[in-house]
Amino acid sequence: MQRYIVRRFFQSLLELLAISMLIFGMSRLTGDPVMLMVPDDASREDIAQLRHALGLDQSLPVQYWVFLSKAVQGDFGRSIKGQMPVSEMIKERLPNSLKLAAVALSIAVLLAFPLGVVAAVKKGTALDTMANVVAVLGQSLPQFWVGIVLIQVFAVHLRWLPVAGVGSIWHYVLPAFTLGWFVVAGMMRLLRSSMLDILGSEFVKLARIKGVPESTVIWKHALRNAIIPVLTFGAIYLAILVTGAILVETVFAWPGIGQLIYQGIVFRDFPVVQAVVLLTAGVVIAVNLLVDILYAYVDPRIRYG
């Protein structure tokens, strides 16, 4: 187990290093990254000064080392638009994003589990078809458009919910649902197929022969085992959630990291975009590492495999 964790840890470290190199390399694509870091109306002296301050007169490996060591210390430079350290802006907004993501993920799990299980148990019925429609639509609908239509219906016409922004718990309803639904689609399909596998297996038959009530067979014996494949896709769900958060936070004017990157795009605020990408990379890799360790803990086949 320990060996597995150590190996996995170094793998993650390598990934993070590779991604930081990629980001660094991309910022040099245009040749002169200073142009990405100053406002359009910056004077020649400002540019020359910044070039020197950033050490751009030095060799690329040295530049990369400076970039990396600063990033490790949480120094991502200053925002062009906000005129403040990017790290401050992120610190301010991170809790909002985490709260929204947590609510969305809870909604997703609460919807996907019953739907996936019922679709598998009632395979071929109208319920199964309905669940399938939900999943197909989840793959064909642009998420940001769903958010806008929901605002039009529930906030503008019916006036049941606030249009956008943060404040009361009612502000969570639309964005969390929009964000969560797209996780539901994939999660439900996967759970349905793994449930179908498990329901046909020997130990489920045995449980039924023993006279275990059908609901216990389904919700306890089968579901527990059907969850494992869903867990392996944890990284994918996280990716969907992060991608979705950028769009959903933009639609609902949610003051989180996703909206920050949107503003970064609009104002061509390179330091902000770079910092968000780097930070998200770190978080995603860390969460994946954690999930894998948990997974190995739950399933011994992994750590000895």
Partner: protein, 300 residues
């Protein structure tokens, strides 16, 4: 390969090249509706300047924010209404189809091509090359890769080329993974060994012997990803990281309507509907094509 019972001739164990082969049963269920929708959208995109009398970019302020024709104040002159600059919404949607399809097509070619090439190389080479390429693929697949697409557009500035690059960046890993899997099973077959014995270079084996055999999978994969590519392009456009204005794209039109959410619902509604219908049509068509060509690809 057919067995000749009369002569007892040795039958070739496997076809040298597995061509794109249609399953007859599936041909009976050609998805008429999705195919007609796809044809219609392709035609509108190609014929855009013939179909509409308006320009997609010229501003006409007196005509601004006209509703669709069935609402009060609307007229058939602008069937789906106008946007805040007085431009005809339907016109912009028709021209927007061009961008969506063009970016989708080019992005698929680039992303699919690079991904397939990497998959073939990884699958054939094996060993360290394979390990390295698949590590990179796995990282890309488990990562919100759209962030890198955004970073790329912010660095290079928005243009058709940048967006195509960004889309390809999001896409390649899905192809690399599947094509590599296919290659692994094909390279163990006798004709590959024979080619190697005959002295073919790795390059020749990949291009002449392996590529035609993964073509089936590649075609299915491409058709299944069209819808996804259109959504990626729309998402980038919506975030302002797409082809820059005034060129109309479905995603940026939805973004423009955001400020008029309470007063002019049609501005964001119809472009979104166009995306939904297009993506749904391509997805249903892709599903059918998969079943028609190779049902064993179900898990894609």
């Amino acid at each position: 390969m057919s067995v000749s019972m009369a002569t007892g001739e040795l039958v070739r164990e496997e076809p040298l090249v597995r061509p794109v082969r249609w399953r007859l049963a599936a041909l009976r269920h050609v998805p008429v509706v999705p195919l007609s929708i796809i044809t219609l959208i392709l035609l509108t995109a190609v014929l855009a300047n013939v179909l509409t009398p308006y320009s997609p970019v010229d501003i006409a302020l007196p005509e601004r924010l006209k509703p669709p024709f069935w609402e009060q104040g609307g007229s058939l002159a602008h069937p789906l209404g106008t946007d805040p600059m007085g431009r005809d919404l339907l016109t912009r949607m028709i021209y927007g189809a061009r961008i969506s399809l063009l970016v989708g097509f080019l992005g698929l070619c680039l992303g699919g091509g690079v991904g397939a090439a990497l998959g073939l190389i990884a699958g054939y080479a094996g060993g360290r090359v394979d390990a390295f390429l698949m590590r990179a693929t796995d990282t890309a697949l488990s990562f919100p890769i759209i962030l890198f697409a955004i970073l790329l557009v912010v660095i290079l500035g928005g243009s058709l080329l940048t967006v195509v690059l960004a889309v390809a960046l999001v896409l390649w890993a899905r192809f690399a993974r599947v094509i590599r899997g296919e290659t692994l099973s094909i390279r163990e077959r006798h004709f590959v060994a024979q080619a190697r014995i005959a002295g073919s270079s790795p390059m020749r084996i990949i291009v002449v012997h392996l590529f035609p055999n993964v073509l089936n999978t590649l075609v299915v994969l491409l058709s299944l990803q069209v819808g996804w590519v259109i959504i990626v392009e729309a998402s980038l456009s919506f975030l302002g990281a797409g082809v820059p204005p005034p060129t109309p794209t479905w995603g940026s039109m939805i973004a423009e309507g955001r400020d008029y959410i309470a007063s002019a619902w049609w501005i964001s509604f119809f472009p979104g509907l166009a995306i939904l219908v297009t993506v749904l049509a391509f997805n249903l068509f892709g599903d059918w094509l998969r079943d028609a060509l190779d049902p064993t690809l179900r898990q894609l």
